[in-house]
C-alpha cells in the first residue's frame, strides 16, 4: 500500500510537472520497464481529469440552481426563433430540428408505406435568407436569390423554383434550395438529380443534401436506393446519422 501511494505521488508529480529532474528521469526509466507503472500513470491521468470533470459538473449544477432561483421572475416569455435573426445568423441557413417523434405511430407488425415514412421524417429545410456567405457576382443575381429564398421560406415553392432554375449553376446554395423546393413540391426525381449534384461538389451542404437525397428516394418508394443513401449518412456519422439509422430500420 505504502509503495503504491508513493507511486501515485510520483505519477501525480509527473503529470503536474512538479518532479525534480532526477525524480523525473528515474520515473521515466521505470516506465520503460514496468508495465504496472505505465498502467498506473494512465489511470492517474484519467482519474485526475475525471475529478476535474466532476468538479465542473457540480459547479455547473450550482450555477443552474442559481438560475432556477430566478425562474418565477417576470421573464419575457416571448421566444424569438433563432433563425429569424438575420443580422446574427447572416450565413445562409439554419435547419429546423427535424422531428423524429413518431416511431410509435406505426404498428410494429405492419411495415409502413414509403409515403408514410416520408411524411414522418420529412420537414422542409428551414432557411434564413441572410446575405453572409453567398457568391454574389452581381447585384441582380443576389436579388434573385433573395427573392427565391423568401419565396421558399413562405413555402411558395413553385415561385422559388422559377427563380432558381436559371441561376442554379451559380452556386451550391441555389442548387440546394432548388432541389429542396423540388422535393417540397413533390418532384422527387428532379430533387434527386439536384441533391446528387450538390453532394458531388462536396461543399458545406453535403450532409444536408445526403439526408434529403435519401428522403427523395423514400418519397419515390425506391427502398434500395434509399437504404444505400442512408448507409452513407450512417457511416459518415454526421448529425443526421441518428435519424438515418431510425429510418433505415423502418425501411426493412
Amino acid at each position: 500500500m505504502e509503495n503504491e501511494d508513493k507511486d501515485i505521488a510520483l505519477a501525480e508529480g509527473y503529470i503536474e510537472g512538479s518532479l525534480t529532474e532526477n525524480e523525473r528521469s528515474d520515473f521515466e526509466k521505470r516506465l520503460m520497464e514496468e508495465k504496472e507503472l505505465q498502467e498506473l500513470l494512465n489511470d492517474m491521468k484519467t482519474l485526475t481529469v475525471g475529478i476535474a470533470y466532476a468538479g465542473r459538473e457540480s459547479a455547473r449544477q450550482k450555477i443552474a440552481e442559481l438560475e432556477a432561483s430566478f425562474q418565477e421572475e417576470n421573464e419575457e416569455t416571448k421566444v424569438i426563433p433563432i433563425w429569424q435573426n438575420r443580422k446574427f445568423f447572416a450565413a445562409a441557413a439554419v435547419v429546423a430540428i427535424l422531428l423524429v417523434s413518431t416511431f410509435t405511430i406505426f404498428n410494429l407488425n405492419q411495415s409502413p408505406s414509403s409515403e408514410a415514412l416520408f411524411q414522418t421524417y420529412y420537414e422542409p429545410y428551414m432557411i434564413l435568407s441572410g446575405s453572409g456567405t453567398r457568391n454574389t457576382d452581381s447585384e441582380s443575381a443576389a436579388n434573385d436569390q433573395d427573392k427565391a429564398l423568401i419565396a421558399y421560406e413562405q413555402q411558395k415553392y413553385e415561385e422559388a423554383i422559377a427563380i432558381l432554375e436559371p441561376i442554379q449553376q451559380d452556386n451550391e446554395i441555389n442548387k440546394f434550395y432548388l432541389s429542396s423546393a423540388y422535393l417540397a413540391s413533390g418532384q422527387a426525381e428532379k430533387a434527386i438529380d439536384g441533391f446528387q449534384g450538390v453532394i458531388s461538389s462536396g461543399g458545406e451542404y453535403t450532409r444536408q443534401a445526403q439526408w434529403y437525397l435519401a428522403l427523395s428516394y423514400v418519397k419515390l418508394g425506391d427502398v434500395e436506393e434509399a437504404k444505400s443513401a442512408l448507409s452513407v449518412i450512417i457511416e459518415s456519422g454526421s448529425a443526421y446519422s441518428k435519424k438515418a439509422k431510425a429510418l433505415f430500420v423502418q425501411l426493412d
Partner: protein
C-alpha cells in the same frame, strides 16, 4: 465591489460571492445578449450560465487574478465569445443546434466518445468513494487549491496528513474505478 478581494473569496470557495456576481449582472447580460445576438431568452440564459462557469474556472486556475476592467466588462467579453461560438457551431452543424454544448441537458449519452465514458465512470466512482475523500480530491484537482489550504480548511493537523490522505483517497478511487470499468467491459 472591491473586485480583487471578490476574486480571492471566490477562489477560496465563496459560493455566496459567486451568487452575488451571478445576480448582479444577470439582467443586464440577458437583455444585452438577446438584443445583440437576437437569441432566445433560453439561449441567453445558457450563455450566461456558461459565461459564469468560465469566469469561475478562470479564477480557480489562477488565470484571472485581478480585473483590469470591471467584472461586467469581463463577463460580457466572455459572453460575446460564447455567443459567437454558439453561432459558429450552429452554422456548421445547422441541424444539430440543440446538442451544442452549453451546459444543458446531455441528451446524447450514446454519442459521447469513449473518453467521456471514462470520465463519467470516474464521476460515478467519486460518488461511491464518499467523503471526505471526494471533497479533498475535488478541492485539489478542480479547485486547484494548495495542500496547505486544504489541510487548513478541512481541519487536518498539517499538510503532510492531508497529503497522505489524498494518496490514500486516490488509491481507493482507482480501485473503485478499475472495478467498475472491468464490470463494464
Amino acid at each position: 465591489m472591491v473586485e480583487t478581494s471578490l476574486i480571492e473569496k471566490i477562489k477560496k470557495g465563496g459560493e455566496s460571492e459567486l451568487a452575488e456576481v451571478y445576480k448582479a449582472f444577470r439582467g443586464e447580460f440577458l437583455s444585452w445578449i438577446t438584443k445583440n445576438f437576437k437569441c432566445t431568452q433560453d439561449d441567453a440564459k445558457d450563455i450566461y450560465q456558461h459565461t459564469i462557469l468560465i469566469f469561475y474556472e478562470n479564477i480557480l486556475s489562477g488565470k484571472l487574478v485581478e480585473l483590469k476592467s470591471s467584472a461586467k466588462t469581463y463577463l460580457f467579453a466572455i459572453g460575446k465569445n460564447k455567443a459567437l461560438e454558439l453561432y459558429k457551431a450552429s452554422n456548421r452543424f445547422t441541424d444539430d443546434f440543440d446538442t451544442v454544448k452549453l451546459g444543458g441537458v446531455d441528451n446524447s449519452l450514446e454519442e459521447l466518445d469513449e473518453k467521456e465514458d471514462d470520465l463519467r465512470l470516474v464521476v460515478k466512482s467519486l460518488d461511491e468513494l464518499g467523503e471526505p475523500c471526494s471533497q479533498l480530491l475535488r478541492l485539489y484537482y478542480y479547485q486547484k487549491r494548495s495542500m496547505d489550504e486544504i489541510a487548513a480548511e478541512m481541519g487536518y493537523k498539517n499538510t503532510d496528513t492531508a497529503k497522505s490522505l489524498k494518496y490514500k483517497c486516490m488509491r481507493r478511487l482507482k480501485k473503485i474505478y478499475k472495478k467498475a470499468s472491468v464490470s463494464l467491459n
